[in-house]
């Protein structure tokens, strides 16, 4: 029984990361109605970039965030402004096709540069530090740190969206692009900023994930699916809902893994399908207007 309690806690803490993947994905979809198929590969690329920075400068993964986050955000801005913006406005298909292609290109570039070997980011002693409640139940410092970071980032995004003029411009653009332009909003710039913000968020999540688990150039699509599942379970349009969706996915995976070692992903997908079947709007549907 204690094993399941342990799994529940681990899943909850892991779920924060999935929520961050999902938040980045839904930010892009919300502002410009674009589904970014390369999202998972961009997460993995961020992890590889962190690996590269750590090797070059001899610093730890947390310090590397100081370089990784701004560089990845700048890359996101450029990617949107000078590539993906040109795919918008002609239906759903062009952005899908271009981001699928981007996904393939990223995977193969990573394969050439870093080979197919699995990598992991070494964080040192914090990886094994934990708080023990008793001889059977303990909680790792790293998972707690990552969960707290996730909640703080989601809270910050929430504030940004609903309390700042920047967020107002995001929401207005999401509502009506044409009228947003009449307000003097350069939507192409807003789109690029949204992508920059999305990738900044997933860069943090990517680095945390890469400390926890091994990754290779082909890990991306799986992360993309986790992101999608968290969004759908939480309900489109609510950041806190996305957090809950991510946590549910994390818990389902951890419980599945407790039942049988090979089950975590299957259990996650089953939980996702169950929510989709019984609550197709997700747990926190966007209030209809």
């Amino acid at each position: 029984m204690i094993g399941y309690l342990n799994a529940l806690i681990q899943g909850l803490l892991l779920g924060g990361l999935y929520a961050l993947f999902a938040a980045g994905l839904s930010l892009i979809f919300g502002v410009m109605r674009m589904v970014n198929i390369a999202h998972g590969d961009l997460i993995v690329a961020s992890a590889y970039f962190a690996y590269f920075v750590m090797q070059m400068l001899g610093i730890g993964p947390f310090t590397s965030l100081l370089i990784v986050v701004p560089v990845v955000a700048a890359f996101g801005y450029a990617l949107q402004r000078w590539l993906l913006n040109y795919t918008l406005g002609a239906g759903d298909l062009p952005p899908l096709l271009v981001t699928i292609a981007l996904s393939i290109v990223l995977q193969n570039v990573l394969l050439i540069v870093f080979t197919a070997d699995v990598h992991r980011l070494q964080a040192g002693s914090i990886e094994i530090a934990s708080w023990a409640f008793n001889s059977e139940l303990s909680v790792g410092v790293l998972p707690v740190l990552q969960f707290v970071t996730s909640v703080v980032i989601i809270g910050a995004l929430q504030l940004l969206f609903y309390k700042s003029s920047f967020g107002r411009a995001f929401r207005a653009t999401s509502d009506d692009q044409q009228v947003a332009q009449l307000m003097g909003i350069e939507t192409r710039h807003i789109f690029a900023l949204a992508m920059a913000l999305s990738l900044a968020v997933v860069a943090v999540a990517g680095v945390f994930l890469a400390i926890r688990t091994n990754f290779n150039p082909f890990t991306g699509p799986l992360l993309l699916i986790f992101g999608f599942e968290a969004i759908v379970m939480g309900g489109l349009g609510s950041l806190w809902g996305t957090l809950v969706g991510g946590i549910l996915l994390g818990i389902a995976q951890a419980i599945g893994g407790q039942i049988q070692v090979g089950l975590p992903f299957v259990a996650g997908h089953v939980a996702f399908l169950a929510v989709l079947y019984f609550l197709p709007q997700g747990l926190f549907p966007k209030v209809s207007q």
Partner: protein, 232 residues
């Protein structure tokens, strides 16, 4: 002083030509009405002026400079604001946020949140309501206020009276002189001909992408307007 001049403006939607060489000019401080039946090209004309539809640069001049090729955000910066047809408020923003976003460029001028609330006191009471919770007339006031917040020198209003009760239309039109008092030129596009004639000093009638009649609003003959409107 001529604030806006449109010179031989054409507009196309694919192979369909919506405007055939429209020319008109608007003086600072003037209210100009553009009337016409459905599909005459009125909204296309306004959207072209506001920069939502790209044009050849010399086809539109604002304040003596060619601006036809500029995009909407650049035109707002120069002082052209559009109240779009059907109001089109941002549904996920409150009334206050809708107004604030209109003023986010920070163009200097007489209009502020405070002044808009003075103009339409009802909006002050509903400031924190979601914009979609308001009545049609109140939404139209928000749409006008939102455009005014950018302190425009030229205010383009597309179908202000569409779908509104006559008494509300009257209330909104009663505020036009106040807006004009701040030195703004106003273009109103209307299907309601009587309203347009009463509110404007100069009137253009569009018919199938051509100007079929123009003149000082009060001097135009009813039958001439009818003929120009319906093309009979």
């Amino acid at each position: 002083m001529t604030l806006l001049s449109v010179n031989g403006l054409t507009a196309f939607y694919g192979d369909f030509q919506a405007l055939y060489g429209i020319s008109l000019s608007i003086e600072a401080g003037q209210i100009v009405a553009i009337i016409g039946a459905n599909g005459a090209g009125k909204s296309t004309l306004l959207n072209s002026i506001a920069g939502l539809i790209p044009n050849r640069n010399d086809m539109i001049q604002f304040d003596g400079e060619p601006v036809g090729a500029l995009r909407a955000p650049q035109l707002v910066m120069r002082g052209v604001a559009l109240v779009p047809e059907g109001r089109r408020l941002f549904p996920s923003l409150t009334v206050r946020e809708n107004l604030l976003i209109g003023g986010q460029l920070g163009r200097r001028g007489p209009w502020s949140l405070h002044r808009v609330f003075e103009l339409f006191p009802m909006l002050h009471e509903r400031a924190d309501s979601p914009s979609h919770a308001l009545s049609g007339g109140q939404q139209q006031m928000v749409a006008i206020g939102r455009a005014l917040m950018s302190n425009p020198r030229l205010l383009l209003c597309d179908e202000l009276s569409l779908g509104l009760a006559p008494i509300v239309v009257k209330e909104i039109y009663a505020q036009l002189p106040t807006i004009l008092g701040e030195g703004t030129a106003v273009v109103i596009v209307e299907q309601n001909v009587m309203q347009a004639v009463a509110a404007s000093s100069h009137l253009y009638c569009l018919q199938e992408g051509h100007i079929s009649l123009e003149g000082a609003s009060k001097q135009l003959d009813q039958n001439a307007i009818k003929a120009a409107y319906f093309g009979v």
